[in-house]
């Protein structure tokens, strides 16, 4: 396996829990094709960030990561630290969640941005400074020189969001993983972030993994959507098809809870991992079989994958 696609095979991520392990991601296999935006949606705590961070091997020492992640002929889960340092920021960059906490409070923003240039690429000195300023301007900042001299706590959340976006772009990576870029922002800022991401994806980085619980953002940007529920990938498909015709009962519930559709909340999750389908306890269409057996991946249409016995 190889190429610029990211191919995840049988990824399981566990964290040590009070008794045994808590499984955050449960045997996920997934292709992230290069040249388009893949959306990863699901409610909070479903394992989206863990999946994203596992690609860059940034989960910390306590996490137990099993499986493979192929990128350009390398299994990233087996890669050496030195190799990973080249890939991080240089080939696969991260736009982290919580931009306000993502920046070092005692280092000027300009220095944090130029740090990436020093690590990846060959722009140095004045050339590098100019590159960063152009980048900030392109992302809609009026006075980039001033921002370079500021600290993160002097900036609004929306500004910091753009700074971390610029930081991700500095190393000119092939891939971008954007983790909840609109989380906690108001409608105006969400629109700004949308435009920033659109601009990035059209002019700079075509391959992107967009992690979000903001379904409208996913719908507007993503060529492909993957739906995560409780660490399990329940549905995958092309963006517009999936929104037009959601197949998995969870996806349907998720879309119906959108404000536009009258916001029907899905019942609260029951954290109990039995034998059967993860969604069994909350599923309005659950059958007796669903409580006994874990559904496999079924392909009802070309390009659609659903984990539900309805499509067996």
């Amino acid at each position: 396996m190889g190429g610029e696609d990211i191919q995840i095979r049988h990824l399981t991520v566990k964290f040590p829990a009070r008794e045994g392990w808590s499984v955050a991601v449960d045997d996920i296999s997934l292709d992230l094709p290069s040249g388009q935006i893949t959306g990863l949606v699901g409610e909070s705590g479903s394992g989206k960030s863990v999946l994203g961070m596992s690609i860059l091997q940034l989960l910390g020492a306590s996490a137990k990561v099993e499986g493979e992640c192929w990128y350009e002929g390398k299994n990233l889960y087996r890669a050496k630290e030195k190799e990973l340092e080249k890939i991080r920021g240089g080939q696969i960059a991260l736009i982290p969640q919580n931009p306000n906490q993502s920046l070092n409070p005692t280092m000027r923003l300009g220095r944090q941005l130029r740090e990436v240039l020093r690590l990846h690429g060959n722009r140095t000195g004045e050339q590098g400074r100019q590159y960063v300023l152009d980048l900030l301007r392109e992302l809609g900042m009026d006075r980039p020189e001033q921002i370079g001299r500021s600290y993160s706590f002097e900036m609004s959340g929306g500004m910091n969001q753009r700074v971390v976006s610029a930081m991700g772009l500095c190393g000119e990576p092939q891939w971008m993983i954007a983790d909840e870029p609109t989380k906690g922002l108001d409608a105006v800022l969400r629109r700004q972030v949308y435009h920033v991401l659109k601009e990035i994806s059209e002019n700079r980085i075509r391959s992107m993994l967009l992690i979000t619980h903001d379904l409208q953002l996913a719908w507007k940007l993503c060529g492909r959507i993957c739906v995560l529920y409780s660490g399990v990938l329940v549905e995958q498909g092309g963006g517009s098809e999936l929104f037009r015709n959601p197949l998995h009962p969870y996806t349907r519930g998720l879309f119906e809870s959108l404000p536009a559709k009258g916001m029907h909340p899905i019942p609260a999750p029951v954290r109990e991992k039995g034998e059967g389908c993860m969604f069994y306890n909350r599923c309005p269409l659950a059958k007796e079989r669903c409580g006994r057996e874990r559904p496999g991946e079924y392909q009802p249409e070309q390009g659609r994958i659903v984990r539900c016995f309805l499509y067996a």
Binding site: G89, Q101, E115
Partner: protein
């Protein structure tokens, strides 16, 4: 920043006043009649009641206490802390004469504290949970829990009596400072190392450190360029407090190693009940402690731009 400095300066004033009142009270409460003592010093061995009364009048001892305090404070501020009962030497001059020795000792102890405390803490954090971490943690706990005088005696026996490497007492050369300063620093090294370890690991777990890794920085760079500076804030507080403590607390070490600093001066004064010397020492070290605290607060502002730029809401 200016506001921050001014505010810090203003908060010092009541503290300094409090220290001066305590020092003054110590002098007032001391047994013996200062007028009789003064007469003795001018060789009037058996003073009459009139002589005593006249001396009291002259020394201002008949004024109301607040007025006496005011006079005393005025003298103290101009460096006149009175004279030692014992030999009549001016206390202010004697403190100043002995000060360089104590300062040298304290600075050297501070240097050891920073050198071994910070490097030990960094080493433990870098090798978290490894054997090195556990061994160093054990050493740190040992250092901070053994009493200074025990360590002093042990060091004298080992390095002076058995190995003959270092002199036991006095200050003949820089080598004389080695043992006292290390003994003085020992417990601070232990505390600083433990705090540095904890603070550094906390910062390494912050989201910004993860993001720094995501840019492609090595773990070493994340630690040295990002986490370390942020981890210094609690360490600076601690070391600052301890430096004040070292200055004041050097008395026992100075006494054991017969180092002629201000600590030994004060301790000797306690044995001979030389109250004015103790009073001068309390005032002097109290004021030094407050000044060191102020310096630490200003150092914060240098480390933490948030304080520098926002006037510091901590």
């Amino acid at each position: 920043m200016i506001h921050y400095c001014i505010r810090k300066l203003l908060t010092m004033i009541p503290v300094l006043l409090g220290i001066s009142i305590v020092a003054f009270a110590l002098g007032k409460l001391s047994p013996g009649d200062p007028a009789i003592e003064a007469l003795r010093r001018i060789a009037v061995e058996d003073p009459t009641a009139e002589q005593i009364e006249a001396m009291r009048e002259e020394m201002g001892l008949l004024d109301p206490v607040p007025v006496q305090y005011g006079t005393w404070l005025k003298h103290a501020l101009s460096g006149d802390l009175g004279e030692s009962y014992l030999d009549g030497t001016p206390i202010g001059a004697e403190l100043l004469r002995r000060l360089p020795v104590t300062v040298r000792l304290s600075l050297l102890a501070l240097f050891w504290t920073l050198l071994f405390g910070l490097s030990g803490g960094i080493c433990m954090a870098w090798h978290q949970n490894s054997a090195a971490d556990k061994v160093l943690s054990g050493v740190a706990v040992f250092l901070l829990s053994i009493p200074g005088f025990w360590l002093a005696i042990f060091a004298i026996i080992l390095f002076s009596e058995i190995l003959h490497w270092l002199p036991t007492s006095g200050i003949d050369s820089w080598r004389s400072y080695l043992m006292p300063s290390l003994v003085l620093a020992a417990s601070n090294i232990g505390v600083t190392a433990r705090l540095t370890r904890g603070s550094l690991l906390k910062e390494m777990g912050q989201h910004y450190a993860l993001v720094a890794s995501s840019k492609g920085l090595s773990r070493r760079s994340v630690l040295t360029k990002h986490a370390f500076r942020n981890s210094l804030v609690p360490v600076v507080t601690l070391v600052g407090n301890y430096f004040g403590g070292i200055l004041g607390g050097s008395a026992i070490v100075e006494s054991i190693f017969a180092v002629p600093g201000i600590g030994k001066y004060a301790l000797d004064a306690i044995y001979t009940r030389d109250y004015l010397v103790i009073q001068g020492y309390v005032l002097f070290t109290g004021a030094t402690f407050v000044l060191v605290t102020l310096a630490i607060d200003l150092l914060y502002a240098v480390i933490n731009p948030k304080i520098r730029l926002e006037g510091g809401v901590r």
